[in-house]
Amino acid sequence: MKIGIPRSLLYYYYYPLWKTYFEELGIEVVSTPATSKKIIDMGIKHSVPELCVPIKIYIGHLLKLIEDGVDYIYVPRFVSILKGQYFCPKFMGLPDMIRHSFEGIEDKMIIPTIESKNENIAEYKNFKIFEEKLGISTKANKKAIAKARRVWESFKNYCHLGYSANEASDLALGKIIETGTLPAKASVTIGVVGYVYNLYDSYISMDIIKKLREMDVSVKTFEMIKEDVLNQKLQNMSKNLFWTFSDKLIAAGYTFYDDANIDGLIHVTAFGCGPDSMLGKLLELDSPVYEKPFMTIRVDEHSGENHLQTRIEAFVDMIKRKKIKARRGA
């Protein structure tokens, strides 16, 4: 039996969990190759033009899976992973968009509703659907969930150590071994604010993290900050954004503003992202208050790598000069 997971959206956050779970049950996991021009084009062709790029890419990956011939496709409906908080409406309606857009795809889709108390979604009710669909016993199911839960926890731990989600995912799954040496402290540290599915999809973000590291910049992202630190930041806001990941991003943004070790912020956002239009504006308005440079990079299906290179180079140069100036002045 083969189950397909599109390499898009929350794949970058939950892949270790999903992979462990399915493999523990003896199911082969098939995921798509990294996003390519062809995959994006397929997605664009089959979706409403106004949709944001990540969703279009998801649809592209999904179609690729069907081409490849899998038995089932795992398309979870993310509703809430924190009490009183939701996902973006497009996440919540994603399975509906897909099953009503393509004829006969519904039988192949497995659509569990994901609702959990915290980020670790390895809870029995989120995976109960497989018992009936794939004929698994409750005992085996629970055992697989427990293992998935542990693997995901170790993934989070690696993230907190300062590994990017991609690296942490490989580490947690044992694909690579911890070298013991994290990237050494660089001369400039930049906080990158962006969703996992934008930052780690090298086609969308054009590998911005790698590019920054090559420029002798150490990078911090939201998943490297511990949960309770983020939650504390949110308490200072009079009303929080009610989308879980946007909330994390804005809390990370303010943590970066407050952190004296961080020299500047880059906000990576996809064209047409609704929640980002709000949180980006708030962070932008606060940039002069905290006296830290802030830059927005908006990405879409048109890839122009050179402009990105130029912009981040200029941004990093500006920060370096500012630091030299400050040192001279002191």
Binding site: S47, V48, E50, L51, R77, V79, G84, Q85, Y86, F87, C88, P89, K90, M92, G93, L94, D96, M97, H100, S101, T113, S238, K239, L241, F242, W243, F271, G272, C273, G274, P275, D276, S277, M278, G280, K281, L282, L285
Partner: protein, 363 residues
Amino acid sequence: MKVSFPYMGTTIVYKKLLELLGHEVVMPPKPSQYTINLGVKYSPEFACFPLKVITGSYIEAAELGAEVIVTSGGHGPCRAGFYEQVHRRILEEKGFNVDFIVFNSMFRDFKQFFANMMMLKGTNSWFKIAQSLLMVYDMIKKLDILEKRVQELRAYELKKGETTKAWEQIQIGFDKASSKKDLQQAFNNGEVLLNQIKTFNIYDKDRIRIGIVGEIYVVMESSINMKMEELLGNLGAEVERSQYLSEWVAYNALPGFMNRTHEVEILKKGEPYIPINIGGHAKQTVGHIVDYSQRGFDGVIHLMPFGCLPELVSQSIVPKISQALDIPVLTLSIDEQSGTANSLTRVEAFMDLIKGKRMKKIS
């Protein structure tokens, strides 16, 4: 305390309520190109269109001296729940000192709701409050009854534009009313006005009925949806909107277990397509299209602000519903680029298609 509010639909209703409570009301001007320009200039680039228009209209109200803005809130997942936070920051940035009173759902945070009520209540007695609320609700209902007639009559008037004029007069009449008796009087006057309009006769089977569905702001606010209702009326179609203020109030003011409003039924009809509430009016949109097709409407116009998160989901599903139920649906996405001629052509073509479909059925 000079109070203002976001401009949407029949604004005299909000004005009346605040006036009855003894506040000085700063009426925001009807959204114009100037309002939109202001809003676009100061709002986040990718924010949805209603946010931009409301930003513009707040700035205009603040320039007129508004000190407090009363608005509704929300808790997601649609962006509308966060409007007030962004607006607050934008107005602050512009140097206006404006307070916000935000009404979130009273079932979620009653304490806050109560505190807001107390602020608006001032020195009025609770009896007065209840009386005012009931009176305004009565007013909304009466206005909606008349508006539904207006939407029907407009298609058959002999002198183009007469109905619209009458509707404006009716609103002025209601605006002046300050007691229950006045309201009844204004309602009666309105009916007389509408009865005077000369129409041509039409057989029942020749009537063309179009439903307008979509996000509440672009559906209700005629100044930003290119006066879609008038446009359709002038092209000879009766129009019904998916949102009326009275229905919205009834649905939102009643707790779940005793909610028997029409909207509950609509939501049920949307269930096969979108099983859970994904925020905004996506589920209602889908439900209304099903409802209109069951009631034998000839077509549906689906209005959405550009980039609206929930409506994008419904937009993706619309082709399937349209095909399954055999009802034409035209989706128009609305933003600050108001190419009126473009939309006009599309709506005209849509009407031709509906008429053509009918001819084919007969022959």
